[in-house]
């Protein structure tokens, strides 16, 4: 850490619209299938200094870290729907581990391990359940709904 990082940084976090819009900068973003405006969001980690967002479209799950000591938020990783969903079911394992009184660690598949989450954001349901449901909502139910609308059901 440098002195500049210790003392300076942005005053505030990026707003949700800009966080969602950031996914369009991904090389993997497919504008013909994905629409950032309709992307689903799940905030998993929040401190006065950092926020971690999961942003999901019907095709891809993005993890965005917004750190106010940095110039701008950035996409830490992303995963395609194919690696997350099989036969209309979420096929990856989501596991949580203890960290501190206020935070825990979450593994989202074997590829993205030990991401911090804030316990106070998951009071009503476990973080594992919330992430699984979030992926289902964005990638399975949204697609079904779209399909139903297209077929006039």
């Amino acid at each position: 850490m440098k002195l500049r990082e210790l003392l300076s940084g942005r005053n505030d976090f990026e707003n949700l619209n800009n966080i969602k819009k950031l996914i369009t900068s991904s090389k993997k973003y497919e504008p013909s299938y994905e629409n950032w405006k309709h992307a689903h969001e799940l905030l998993i980690f929040s401190t006065p200094r950092q926020k971690t967002w999961l942003i999901a479209t019907i095709k891809r799950l993005y993890c965005i870290l917004d750190d106010v000591s940095r110039d701008a938020p950035h996409i830490a990783w992303s995963m395609s729907k194919e690696s997350l969903v099989t036969d209309d079911k979420v096929s990856i394992e989501v596991r949580q581990h203890e960290n501190t009184e206020r935070t825990g660690l979450i593994d989202i598949s074997d590829k993205h391990k030990s991401w911090l989450y804030s316990k106070n954001l998951f009071n009503t349901k476990s973080v594992e359940k919330a992430v699984i449901e979030f992926i289902e909502q964005a990638m399975i139910f949204t697609r079904r709904k779209k399909h139903d609308i297209e077929h006039g059901r």
Binding site: L3, L7, R49, Q50, D67, A76, M79, R102, W115, L116
Partner: protein
Amino acid sequence: MEQIKEGLFLLLIKLEVIPADSNEYAVLIFAIGCAFIGLLAVFADLCFYLIRNQSLLGVKHGYKESIVFMVAWSFGAFIIGYVGQVLAIFQVNLLACATVGLSWPVVFVKIIEYLAEQKEIQKIADEGEQ
């Protein structure tokens, strides 16, 4: 002793960066530099107080109070300068010295917050896109 004197001359007069590998007393030189700037800060505050009857550092200046405050402020700057070097936060240059010397209580609070939050800071990683 010669190395410390030379280092302080380079740092405070010639405004040069002292790399740790060129002077084995770089940490001490930096801490002394912080204390020196701290001393100047309190002295400047005393001048401001005499001119405007107001202290920017919130000190009620007087013979004894000013001396005690100068010693305490400089000593605090010395310690925070040293701790900052241990944590590799500062480069040994006059800008960092001035930052610590003038605002070491703020830097101190930030360092404490930083250390307390260490287990709650998400490492900035780029794990790629699959």
